[in-house]
Amino acid sequence: MARVSLTVNGVGYTEEVEPRLLLVHLIRDKLGLTGTHVGCDTSNCGACTLHLDGQAVKSCTVLAVQCDGSEVTTIEGIGAEDALHPLQQAFWAKHGLQCGYCTPGMIMAAADLIARNADPSDEDIREALAGNLCRCTGYQNIVKAVRAAAGEMSTASAQPSREEVTA
């Protein structure tokens, strides 16, 4: 067993882990943060995407022991129902999700894109999200949501969401 100390969503944890334990299983099974999902075993689907030291990673391909001293942010750490992140707001407003399983990973990957490129084009968004698979939405409203969120984040802090959507 190995000892790992890391900060997740601003809270410090020290855990004894098997050297082979994946970061995603540490996050889900030991820390109980189940918003980060597992959709494949080959790092193709991106459902497990979270931020490790400020960068989006697929947490199914990171060992927990690699994260000693690191800072992790998961979907639970970027916003809450009463204080949504602009991306969360935009995914809701633009119908950027259906079953929701890929959504946390999709939002974390999109946040990483916007951090690197504050004004992404549709093509930029599609390329940046190519490692995150969604079977429900056909991606069109996800692209729309990311563009809207980028606009929102570059102009001002998030506005309250409207009840009705104009597509």
Partner: protein, 803 residues
């Protein structure tokens, strides 16, 4: 065999606040966008044991022995079970399609293999332990001795004399033969001036919901609870009862948040039954969550038809008849309903066209592959694909524009009884095609196409005009005496107004991403005079609400939504009588307006739903003979199916040097009746298109001739990503159905049913100058390149074909 008539349902007033028809944001989303939703794999109970499954690497073999000793000694392992331990199972997996007068071969399919295996991935043993990593280690220590048997994976070879036989007890690989004729088909082809024939392969695909299947079973106080990533909790409970020999009232099945289904979770899997059996056996909660590799191997597959299609026509393009012979690869064993899938192809064999005669002949075949069953569209995408591509071939043969051929034969009178007995409810096929062409600008495209070809750029356009059957369905038509499904196909709903006027609405459907909590709340809100915010829609738990028939076949709104509307109208009716009593007016003079039940013409004399609920739950002054409470149930069994339709156009560009296909534009005009929430419809259309684009361009479950699945991960099985698809141009027309009072049809599968022939036709159109007339899906670069080479090599630039 026919469907009952499209008797017009009585139209009722919504009396509403006007929430229906609006693009409200989804009530489901706050929990989903914050990571707060609870999927099955997110749950752990105290003492949970994790299950790892030992799977067969052999596609066809006798099991000589299984040695579990070493695995049992591994740290943390609590138990290892094989089929020998499961003698107390009451029944194997029931297959619910039993068509009258048809010999249906159903081999016993147990949760763990009994004596032999018939496909790679078949479960042979289960290891239970306290740590989910170490049970996988232990599963690797189970030693199984197999005696390999000859393998057959090609369904046409499996039908030949001398093929290896997969189930000795049957002496044949034929699962069943089934035919649905209508009209004089022999005369249709005798009288035709032109007959075109095609062989079309509709390959095997995966549903590929991003959430892998997960099951958590608990046996406690003599009762079983299963949390399952299922589309069908109520049906699952019945089947668990049959297989485990536990009476139904002692079983609770809960579908918590479910991460997509697409038909792949319209199933009761062996692992699901096994988890329950293990929980009862050990007295501990047992959880099994599939890996993606397991998903690809043994989550049921879809499609896998070989279609021999023939269409006859007069020289002027008037159709005389269509015949399809469908060879359905069923895999080695059935799950709950696989063989019924190709029969849904037969339902829509007439397409949008006025064929005077139709016939579908189906043969199901056992092969050493995994089970095929319902995947988004389930038989109808296959039918649309072969009808539309054969119509294009006919147009080519007649020297006629393919759209002119379609228009000449569109059905225009509704309701319309087809030769095989089905009654199309309503439609406007010219309307959707007109709108599609308006958006597309076909003439503009043809000019652009010609200019681009001058520069060596190959673009093409393809069309699909489709009609589909959904809203399953009238139990008289589908049930044991009709189609042969061993079940009813009603839907249930219960609307309960609580004492404070808040509303809980239970539905028997079981959504997994569609947005029913929002759409159904809109329907109820309008009928009881409250906002959707205070209508909580409860689903997916057999311990709440009445028995339901769950979600598949685009049935949830047309059947479940109608049930909930009718239950809400019963509430409205009772509320009116209470208000009339209090206001000393006649019930027919009470109208629901602006969220209040008021005396017509006297806005001051009004009560809110909360005030009505107060009267109902403090029943001191109710009308004589009225029961207390405000709580109503409806079971709705529709009088007919519903028949959504539309027109899709796809523009692709083909790189003739590499064979790569890019979708440049996609225009979809669909008609699913009046919209409850247009936003949800748009989402279903987008997703449905991409599902079919995936099949048309990238996705294929490939077995080699030795029975090994060689596209068994997301590395090899290529789901479309955001970078692979364009944005779509969508629109709708609204033609109500008389089958339900909402006028609604279904939309979950429509775009998947429509799309694939438009893609293939667009590629054929692009490559027509090179002589390519046919390519089977998926349109991979290699396949396109080979088709071009074959066409060029065999017949030069203006003739011949390639397949």
């Amino acid at each position: 065999m026919g469907a009952p008539g499209a008797e017009a349902a009585e139209k009722t007033e919504s009396g509403g606040n006007g929430y229906v028809g609006r693009s409200l944001k989804r009530k489901e989303d706050p929990r989903l966008i914050t990571g707060g939703a609870t999927y099955t794999d997110d749950m752990v109970l105290p003492g949970t044991l994790y299950a790892a499954i030992v799977r067969s690497p052999e596609p066809h073999a006798k099991i000589l022995s299984i040695d579990t000793e070493a695995a049992s000694q591994m740290p943390g392992v609590q138990a290892v079970f094989t089929d020998e331990d499961m003698a107390d199972m009451a029944a194997p997996c029931p297959m619910v399609f039993v068509p009258p007068g048809v010999e249906m071969r159903v081999p016993d399919h147990w949760p763990l293999a009994r004596g032999k295996v018939g496909y790679v991935g078949q479960a042979v043993a289960v290891v239970l332990g306290t740590d989910k990593y170490s049970v996988v280690d232990a599963a690797g220590q189970v030693v199984v001795d197999y005696d390999p048997l000859p393998v057959v994976t090609d369904p046409e070879k499996a039908l030949e004399a001398g093929s290896p036989i997969i189930h000795d007890e049957f002496g044949t690989n034929t699962v069943f033969e089934w035919s649905l004729p209508g009209g004089d088909v022999a005369a249709a082809f005798r009288d035709a001036d032109v007959v075109v024939e095609k062989r079309i392969v509709n390959h095997r695909t995966a549903g590929a919901a991003i959430e892998p299947r997960s099951f958590l079973a608990q046996w406690r106080e003599g009762k079983l609870t299963l949390w399952s990533s299922t589309q069908i909790p109520h049906i699952c409970r019945v089947i668990l009862s049959i297989q485990l020999g536990i009476t139904e009232e002692k079983i609770r099945v809960v579908a918590p948040e479910v991460g997509g289904g697409f038909g792949s979770k319209l199933q009761v899997y062996g692992e699901e039954v096994l988890a329950c059996w293990c929980a009862r056996k050990t007295g501990r909660p047992v959880k099994y969550t599939a890996t993606r590799s397991e998903e690809m191997l043994v989550t049921h597959h879809g499609r896998d038809q070989i279609d021999y299609v023939k269409i006859g026509a007069k020289r002027d393009g008037k159709l005389t008849g269509i015949h399809a012979r469908i060879i359905q690869d069923c895999g080695a064993y059935h799950l709950i309903e696989g063989p019924v899938i190709p029969t849904f192809s037969a339902c829509v064999i007439s397409g949008c066209y006025d064929f005077p005669a139709v016939q579908t002949d189906i043969v199901g075949v056992f092969t050493n592959k995994f089970t095929t069953d319902a995947i988004r569209g389930a038989g109808r995408p296959e039918a649309t694909h072969f009808i539309e591509l054969t119509m294009d071939a006919l147009a080519e043969e007649l020297g006629m524009d393919p759209l002119e051929l379609r228009r000449k034969n569109f059905i225009t009178e509704f309701p319309n009884e087809r030769p095989h007995g089905f009654i199309y409810d309503s439609g406007n096929y010219h309307g959707t095609l007109d709108k599609c062409l308006e958006k597309l600008d076909l003439e503009g495209f043809r000019r652009e196409q010609a200019e681009l070809r001058e520069r060596g750029v190959f673009r093409g356009v393809g069309f699909s005009t489709y009609v589909e059957i959904c809203g399953l369905g009238p139990s008289r038509a589908l049930g044991p005496e009709g189609w042969g499904m061993q079940g009813g196909y009603f839907e249930s709903a219960q609307v309960r107004v609580l004492p404070t006027g808040a509303v809980t609405a239970y539905t028997g459907v079981s959504p997994h991403g569609q947005g029913h909590e929002t759409g159904f709340a809109q329907i109820v809100a309008d009928r009881v005079g409250v906002a959707p915010d205070v209508v909580e829609v409860i689903h997916g738990d057999t311990n709440t609400g009445p028995f339901g028939k769950n979600t598949y076949g685009s049935r949830s709104l047309a059947v479940g939504g109608e049930a909930i509307a009718r239950a809400a109208e019963k509430i409205q009716d009772k509320a009116r009588r209470i208000v009339a009593h209090k206001m000393e007016a006649a019930p027919e003079d009470i109208e629901l307006s602006d969220g209040k039940f008021q005396v017509r013409g006297s806005p001051g004399k009004a009560m809110t739903l909360a005030e009505v609920a107060g009267e109902a739950y403090i029943p001191a002054d109710l009308p004589d003979g009225m029961e207390a409470g405000l709580d109503e149930i409806c079971f709705f069994d529709p009088p007919n199916f519903v028949w959504p339709f539309g027109a899709h156009a796809c523009v692709t560009e083909v790189d003739v040097e590499t064979g790569r296909v890019d979708v440049v534009r996609y225009v979809a005009v669909d008609d699913c009746g009046p919209a409850i929430n247009p936003l949800l419809i748009e989402g279903q259309i987008h997703g449905g298109i991409v599902h079919a684009l995936g099949q048309a361009l990238y996705e294929q479950l490939v077995y080699d001739s030795e029975g090994q699945l060689i596209t068994g991960t997301f590395v090899d099985y290529a789901l479309p990503s955001a970078a692979d698809v364009p944005s779509f141009e969508t629109d709708r027309t609204e033609t109500p159905t008389p089958t339900n009072t909402l006028g609604v049809k279904g939309v979950g599968e429509a775009a998947t049913i429509a799309c694939s022939p438009a893609v293939v036709a667009s590629v054929v159109d692009a490559l027509r100058p090179l002589g390519v007339t046919h390519v089977d899906m998926p349109l991979t670069p290699m396949r396109i390149w080979e088709a071009i080479q074959a066409a060029q090599g065999s017949a030069g630039p203006n003739g011949g074909g390639a397949s």
